[in-house]
Symmetry: D2
Subunit: 337 residues, 4 copies
């Protein structure tokens, strides 16, 4: 923490701040300039609220100098984390494609789609069973039954599974069927849920909240990792901005930024990120070009009959064509699909 | 729903859209202009995703014409909802002040503060027992013990209680101690929790999410109300914008907008909305001037020793002075404190 | 500037950074902690881009510790600036009301409105002659003729005038008719225009850009003040956020924040800030309650015939009633109208 | 325009709205449903402010159904506009690279850089002579002298030139040296400047404002095109959001959205979009992958000595390597560099 004193402040006030810092266990380094004095406070302990110092007499500004996260940061681990699930490695040279419908609707539906996405090149099957819907009057998912269908379909095709849970009471059910547990954007700061996931030995895919900064996304991983589970995968899925031509603004620049700050892998979800089928392929290509370790893409064999988010689901042929384009894009940066 | 066709589109495509609408149970009204055709679809059922129509051939734009919420809207109930808790009415002529520390820290602390805020004019005592903290390494609240202290302190002074819960497993405990159950900004779209609160006969104070539109805030109320609990109170507590001089941007204009769209009362929380003590009083006055039905204000007798959010807590004298100013402001619009 | 080095970085890299700082004329103060080294660089000269240091090997973060503005800041001048125009003081105990139509439409129109707003309590007459319109096909204002009508109407009632100019070529005309020259939100960073206004001896009212931070608003004043003209008045008029129930989000908290950072006065424009007549009065009261030094309000005797922005113009009776409410609100904070 | 009446509103009020619409020259189509009446108003003329109808008694909502722009829209012209400058076509199969320093600093500097970027594959030389700087105390550019150096350097290497102007008085000078006139983000709504550019026969590169919606960007083109100049090129350069890890959030999704709404070409500027050298390459690849017609990239042979924006300038070797990667990416979508 660095504390910038107001210009011309009295020595007495400076001493009061130094005392307060020492009390809180900081090592204080003082720089006295012609115009103003700056105090460096090193050895910050958790639980210090920098705003407490902002309000002391004579203080002009207080600046945090260490990131709030530890385990999730590059400082803690220099080399990239590679997360192994079954025979798939996330965060390695391969760009991993996860695809499937928004919701599992029936045994037949998920079987059909599983086969199609496997053939096109996907490694993981997605499909929601517990759906967070903005309206209480919309389809809310098939629950455990949906997860069973998802598992069967994945097993039949040699795919892994990824699916979202919304409540910690769903964890015991989820671990029976899901290989990668997804935490949705609306639950990125559901701290009781995150803490509980820290006790599992399963990869957790954490989606970025619509208004979450990249530092907050890293803190969500920290909650999981502090409990002992180091297998966290991020997913950029669009932030909320003033622009409303797209459902959200898929923040592609989050990909290189996360890669610089953290050793954990990051995926992108161009389906939720744009909300409209037409824009999925360009944004999927952009994410891979920017360095994403994988993609989460909605595919449906009959999008216009889908019970949720049909408008953003690709037709199977579109998906297959997109994977071909992505193969070329990934070569440009020395990766493969 | 209104569907705007592209200019010069063929009759065949128009018919295909009309058919699809009829299939989905809409009454279709067609307007054929010189340049373009517009289709009005009335009798919309829940579960229709307007984007499904956006993707049909020949469609240029689809516009939703009814609000997604029902019970929470002014269309459903014209007159203001007044919510009675003990001898206090929220949404009536009185502007209700709820005050207290960010967290309940000890029996003595909450007793001291309860007495001070009661004397200054507060009617409800606030104090957190389950704390949503962005860092897993920060103080997380006293849990049930904290709620007990809160209740005792409130009873000793003749105050009501408001406190946040973060998980549905905490409901049985909460209803024993809390008069108004608060749902925090990060849980505004925790739909499993909201649905559960619909079964209670307790007022629910729903804080606006940092990236939630006003329509989404109303939908959160809808989740609670659809379950049978009509006692919902909104709270504006700041949205996330590009401006970072303040912790959040307290959206004062949400107050008149919510009042126009909904019959439910709305409060403001200038403490979380600004994050810094110096800005609490101006924003509290602004909220009342704009028509807020009440305020949620953090007060601490020793802010610099507070275990959380001390920097945004008022000193008791500041709070007392603020209430005096608020009395005058409320007179300007025919209300009182 | 404070430079935080990466943990465990070599002494050689630290020395390279110190050398670079010394080269650029900084006084360097070093704090060596157990985990990391922090360098304080004092005596910053203009023209240093802090990002240049961010990219040096071994540097983790660079933090600016001085505000980029000087003349506009509280550090430069502790007491509030009071700007005298005719017999009106902006930034003193009186809250100054500026009112009138969006555009001057005719000699008769501006005369009628001038009389009405004067009677209700306004001190300055507003009215646009050069209109920045988002569509090239909309009414663009009467130009110099409009300014003439504005001046005549103001003189007839004993009012001052405020009006916007959009280009430096309009300055010679403007100074003949306008007492307070307004710079619109879209021109807040039109640096060639701002620089030119620095040569005048007229108050300049600078509206905050839709995406401008408060620090950037202060920098716009700095451009004017650096040229010698110290009479700058700010105006908060709404920022762009994700919320679209209102045209913009009037950032009321900017008022106390600007007051803390700068000695210059700040007004609010609730008409443009909300875009809809119904919300003007609540937001006008909120702005005064938060400490605004004045208001800019659109009033029209026949809003439904207005050539621009009729929807956000108050009827004269509404305006008169609002001023009465504002008188009470201003008393709450020891001011008057 | 579609006008949704409140449920249960009287016939009289509906008639009043119909009358008003007819008065304004609209063709009105009425849909009477069980619950509510909807009025379609076709034949909208420019200059109608939809908010005027929002305020009529009994009206619940008013929805615009036609885009405000004409000449810039796909409705006006179905096939892509290809803009020819010298022997380069912008908007054709080739992805056009424009590169060079942020500012022209000297004859030698621009010559050196011109040669390097030409060799690597650039077709257009960029370099600022009139610089919009947020601080009045920063380097403001060499003016006409800078343009002369830019022209000479470009001619020596067989490159075209692109450079920004900030004021209409600079047009006569600019047209002597610049092949593509750039309008910066801060001037995207400088309507007097845009209108003036409508009279030229030169391509105009319009950068998106930091808070401009895509529709507003198209309206800026409309201003130029309405004057007769159809050669407009867009450039996405980052929007302002709550995220502050990057200088701006480069909105890659704007590329497919603009391509859908407009026939005009769109470039991306990853240098200003990210503000930091490390993130330029990933975002440049992402932009091309998403379908950008070209890129604007800052390159400097000695970035740490650059007078402006050195931190976001690529080293010549980095630029050359990036162009190689971009060649592969562009193949993925059937284009070339």
């Amino acid at each position: 923490m660095v504390i910038v004193m107001q210009p011309g402040v009295s020595e007495e006030r400076i001493q009061a701040v130094i005392e307060r810092l020492t009390e809180k266990g900081f090592d204080v380094h003082r720089s006295t300039g012609v115009e103003r004095t700056v105090l460096g406070a090193i050895g910050s302990k958790n639980g210090v609220d920098i705003r407490d110092f902002e309000l002391l007499n004579g203080v002009q500004e207080v600046i945090r100098i260490t990131e709030p996260y530890k385990l999730a940061g590059r400082t803690f681990q220099k080399e990239d984390s590679q997360i192994k699930v079954g025979n798939v490695i996330i965060g390695g040279p391969e760009v991993v494609i996860m695809a499937g419908p928004c919701s599992v609707e029936s045994r037949a539906q998920i079987r059909t789609i599983a086969k199609l996405v496997k053939e096109a090149g996907a490694k993981v099957l997605r499909g929601g069973a517990f759906k967070p819907r903005t309206s209480p009057y919309s389809f809310q998912g098939l629950g455990e039954e949906g997860l069973k269908y998802l598992r069967e379909a994945a097993d039949a095709c040699g795919l892994l599974t990824v699916s979202e849970i919304m409540d910690r009471v769903d964890i015991p059910i989820a671990i029976r069927y899901i290989d990668i547990i997804q935490i949705g954007a609306r639950n990125m700061q559901n701290f009781t849920l995150l803490r509980e996931l820290g006790n599992l030995d399963k990869p957790i895919l954490v989606k970025r909240g619509m208004a979450a900064t990249i530092d907050e996304l890293l803190m969500a991983a920290e909650y999981v990792m502090a409990g002992g589970n180091r297998k966290v995968i991020f997913c950029e899925r669009g932030i909320r901005t003033f622009e409303n031509s797209t459902r959200n603004t898929l923040d592609i620049s989050a990909i290189p930024v996360v890669k610089k700050k953290s050793h954990l892998p990051i995926l992108a979800d161009p389906s939720h990120g744009t909300g409209l089928r037409d824009h999925v392929a360009p944004m999927a290509r952009a994410a891979v070009a920017a360095g994403a370790d994988g993609l989460l893409i909605e595919v449906h064999h009959e999008p216009d009959k889908a019970l949720s988010d049909g408008a953003q689901s690709l037709y199977p042929e579109q998906f297959a064509e997109l994977v071909c384009e992505l193969r070329i894009v990934s070569q440009a940066i020395g990766r493969k699909i």
